[in-house]
């Protein structure tokens, strides 16, 4: 038996892992990143002459469970046509047996890196609202993301915000007319009749059975952390969004002075309500959460916090600072003139 040197072992590891794209329309360009199930490569779609991202499974399709998960992720993405969700173009199996799907190649930065350049709190909140739009859209289509975190959001070169990595997504309810198109081999869906509401949603997938913990600590709701899949619903994503919002509004400890802003009680109340341990106490929908953030941005009272008179006055002052200062200046000037003429 031939002895393999360290160099030979390394080369075998590298070369044997490169996906075999022969017989496909894609030409491999470079490895970009690795995800939970596979590796993402940048490739050229030779037929259309455009760059795409190829997500290729680690193991051959004979690994039924992983192949089903990747197929499922592609199908989840295919049903979510939204400017805030990365579009999928193609799905298939390579000559080496590995399942892949092709999606839009997003040139940009992960949000956790990009955010370092966003120094204004309102700009950060506006970014958050766009993420909420995409998630709310997915919820409206009956899809939960279940792994929302800054590393799973990309900000493109032209400021587009895209929610990525739907590998852990859960489908709560089927869209009318879609079930018939599903491949039964990869279908994880169940009909809306079987569901009495979010809390009753039954996950048909065998990937994430009861007791299986999927998600990222720090962004994962308590019910997800317990692996209690029957109680995971839209409010679990709302929990993650609340943790996400807290990340966005908390300046890093090492930040320069220009990155420091006041820790606002209203914002903190929004984060706290979204991340309540009891799902019943959280926002009922992403739209409610984003509406509260929008109200905050507009200087209006937020539903998450009951204001005191002082809070209201402070908010009123912040909202109409210029007008208040002008009026105050006018009144002071007027008083001084009156005093001067009455001497």
């Amino acid at each position: 038996m031939k002895f393999l040197s360290d160099k030979a072992v390394d080369r075998l590891r590298q070369d044997a892992n490169v996906p075999d794209l022969s017989g496909t329309r894609y030409q491999l360009l470079e490895r970009v990143a690795r995800g939970g199930m596979g590796v993402v490569y940048r490739a050229l779609d030779e037929m259309l002459g455009r760059r795409v991202a190829l997500k290729v499974l680690d193991l051959p399709a004979a690994d039924v469970e992983l192949a089903r998960r990747l197929n499922r992720e592609a199908r989840v993405l295919a049903r979510l046509e939204h400017p805030g969700i990365v579009p999928v173009h193609d799905v298939g199996t390579l000559a080496d047996g590995r399942v892949f799907y092709a999606m839009k190649f997003v040139e940009g930065q992960r949000l956790d890196k990009h955010i370092e350049t966003v120094t204004s709190l309102p700009d950060r909140l506006r970014l958050f609202l766009r993420i909420c739009d995409a998630v709310a859209f997915a919820h409206a289509r009956g899809v939960l993301h279940r792994d929302l975190k800054p590393a799973n959001v990309m900000v493109g070169a032209f400021g587009e915000v895209l929610v990525m990595d739907w590998g852990l997504a859960k489908i709560l309810r089927e869209q009318p007319g879609v079930a018939a198109e599903e491949d039964p081999e990869v279908s994880i869906l169940h009909s809306p009749e079987a569901s009495g509401g979010p809390a009753d949603a039954i996950e048909a997938t065998q990937v994430t059975g009861q007791g299986t913990v999927l998600g990222t600590p720090g962004y994962m709701s308590p019910e997800q952390a317990r692996g209690d899949v029957t109680h995971v619903d839209e409010r679990s994503d709302i929990f993650s969004l609340g943790a996400f919002l807290r990340f966005l509004v908390t300046p890093p400890a090492t930040a320069n002075s220009h990155l420091r802003w006041r820790q606002d009680k209203a914002l903190e109340a929004i984060c706290a309500k979204a991340t309540e341990s009891n799902p019943a106490n959280r926002y009922a929908s992403v739209s409610e959460l984003s509406a509260d953030v929008s109200r905050y941005l507009d200087g209006l009272p937020v539903s998450a916090r009951k204001e005191t008179v002082f809070d209201r006055a402070a908010r009123f002052y912040r909202r109409y600072t210029v007008a208040i200062l002008l009026i105050a200046a006018y009144l002071i000037a007027r008083t001084l003139i009156l005093l001067f003429f009455h001497r």
């Binding site: 072992v9 590298q14 680690d58 080496d96």
Partner: protein, 245 residues
Amino acid sequence: MAGDQFPVTRWSVIDAVKSEDPTRHERALDTLFAAYWKPVYKYVRLRWNRPAEDAQDLTQGFFAEVLERELMAKYDPAKSKLRTYLRLCVDSFVMNQEKAARRQKRGGNATHLALDFQAAEGELAGATIDAASIPSPESLEQFFEKEWVRSLFALAVEDLRKFCAQRGRERTFRLFEDYDLSGDPEISYEKLAAQYAIPVTEVTNALSWARREFRRIALERLRELCGSDEEFRREARAVFGSDAA
């Protein structure tokens, strides 16, 4: 579901060693020993700092112990990786030998495996392993893993060679050997094409086929050596080094 995860064409040494069927049992042990004897020998040499002769006896003794004490039947895939279990068994075996303060001479009725220790010693003598670089338990685990991957790949390359010979694709294997196994940083598809007087596209296709088959064979061997689907996935990622690429 279990059937989906482990189709009948696949098998695992973990199940097969418990089999009543002597042929299946023996094949499982052969597979296990083929993949692990060199990592075990080198590990004993370096971790326990044993001279070659002692390490040979201990390696033989260890595998005899695996057979006699049915260590594989005691392995629980839910608790650890097979590789880690075997490494800990080696540690425990060597420590017990030390405690007894005598080396167990193997012979007579004891099981004796035909292992090419000279080759393993030759590999150790090469510059590829630096004993000084493996002082901590973590690096020992890495060392054992590295040797195990080398052993797995060497077996898969040998299988590929036979596979190519069966299909009359000896030249494909030679191209694979020259490009992927030589470790020569100067080698290129163009050089190989000139050397074999064939078009570059033929080199590309041949290497693509050989790598695909190598990967398939290595994964099949790996699957045999794993106790569960989850362990197989973890090991496959570790072996093909996606993270390290």
